[in-house]
Subunit: 307 residues, 2 copies
């Protein structure tokens, strides 16, 4: 059984690749919930949504985010009414947020709701939120502490990050199935997501670091940095703001003892000598479905070699 | 200045007719809020919405309710997710509910929000909710007390009505502008809405009956019953359930001393003799815009004759 820790878009690509190589019940994906926020009174969990849409074949490939066959009447009308349009919600996407919020208000757990949505959306793999509690990431900038989505979407991640806070993480409870899955796994894959805002919010919840340290399964991270640049999002920018040179090496060092293996892009060959984790080089840019499958195959092979 | 008291669709038709004959600032419409409810955490006020859409030329003429150029991606997707679909919300309509709810949560008054929405939707007339407080109509049926929309939309108004309750009405505060408008009016028009569930929830709020009794302006009601049948909705059915024979006469008697004039359909000529209010017969079925204007013209003429 393979467990993948994932943020949104980049992580979901590798999760999709893995899903095409493994029997559905042998893949568990633990999604970041640090990006979650309330908007218009709706509970929105962008990384879980991206995972569900991607694994369900419902992702919007033109936009690169959101849902396929999307329409925008709601947003268009909201703009005409003078409403808040900084966070774009498609008409179909809205249905997911409304239904999830309704079930949360009924007292259902996010993990149970996510399992139910997997069924509805034809996702046969197990997708788990890292926690059923709220762990909202906050970003310290020159403008003070900002809610994650306010910074990430509202301000396009432009203000320099001075610190991150995973509010409530210390008191949050890891979803037990996620911890059990890590303990019983044949391999744990840390997807090529932003370490700071996608993976570390998961690791900040008590139980995850301990489970990763204790599991007999190899833990393999895939670099989100290729040739010093992030494929998408502010990973490289944040590294610079944290005084680091953006590189695959810096990602591997950030994960430190947590990982046994590291998959970096071929273009970074020669930059990763002397690291403790075993390094594999591979084409890590995932554009086509074939790319995703090929990278997933390399990751699984590297894991088998570490077992 | 003319004040119209109105429920949803039938009332909005006459309000539209009046709006085409009067300078915009000389027409104030007081809308019923007894139908309002929360759905998915959104505050929905169907009668005000119908008034806004109709007066703004945004009403959906194919459906006869809701908003023009509507799309249904949200509802379609919600159904696929197993969500609650008994109350149909179009993608564009949703934007109005989301924005209104956001403003209410910010502490704005429904009346101020409605004024702002009038501006946004190009409604030059003044549309006022009867109150800024909540006055949710409840319906007593053989299934017990039901929320209004649960009964009206969810159960298609099928369960027989044994009693109505305008919860909170006794403690609600009438919107002051509405009371002032009635006091200063040249005429007050009670639109051809359901007396029981559209007009009486307004009248149940302290101040309205008193203002109607005190104003020097004539109060003229237009019958929603033509030849013993309601043009739309459960008015005739409810009359039978209340042990009355559905008729224009029963409507006039229900309003009693409140009204000085009554406009009934030509087909009801001969059935309204001996009433105190002065009766005018007219074609009251409003199909075309010309019908609406023509009826509005007759109502205004009858009002002038009573002044």
């Amino acid at each position: 059984m393979i467990v993948a820790l994932s943020g949104g878009i980049g992580g979901a690509k590798l999760a999709l690749g893995l899903s095409r190589l493994l029997p559905p019940r042998e893949l568990t994906i633990v999604g970041n919930i640090g990006d979650d926020f309330e908007h218009f009174g709706l509970y929105i969990t962008p990384d879980l949504d991206t995972l569900l849409y991607t694994l369900g074949g419902l992702d919007n490939q033109e936009l690169g985010w959101g849902r396929r066959d999307e329409t925008w009447s709601f947003m268009e009308t909201l703009a005409a009414l003078g409403g808040e349009t900084w966070f774009r919600l498609g008409d179909r996407d809205l249905a997911l947020h409304i239904e999830r919020t309704r079930l949360l208000r009924n007292g259902e757990m996010l993990s149970a709701i996510t399992a139910n949505l997997c069924d509805r959306l034809g996702v046969a793999q197990r997708v788990l939120p890292a926690s059923d509690d709220r762990v909202p990431t906050r970003v310290l900038t020159d403008q003070g502490w900002l809610g994650f989505q306010h910074w990430f979407v509202g301000l396009r991640a432009a203000p320099a990050v001075r610190a991150l806070d995973f509010a409530g993480a210390a008191e949050a409870r890891a979803v037990p199935e996620a911890i059990r899955a890590i303990s019983a796994a044949d391999a744990v894959v840390i997807c090529p997501s932003n370490p700071f805002i996608s993976i570390e919010p998961i690791l900040a919840i008590p139980g995850f670091r301990e489970a990763l340290a204790a599991t007999r399964a190899p833990v393999i991270a895939v670099s989100p940095i290729i040739g010093g640049r992030a494929v998408k999002g502010p990973t490289a920018k944040m590294m610079m703001e944290f005084g680091q040179t953006p590189s695959a090496r810096a990602v591997a060092e950030r994960y430190g003892d947590l990982i046994d293996g590291f998959v970096a892009d071929e273009t970074d060959a020669g930059t990763l000598s002397g690291l403790r984790p075993r390094v594999t080089f591979a084409p890590t840019l995932m554009t086509t479905l074939a790319d995703k499958e090929a990278l997933a195959r390399i990751v699984l092979k590297a894991a088998r070699e570490l077992q």
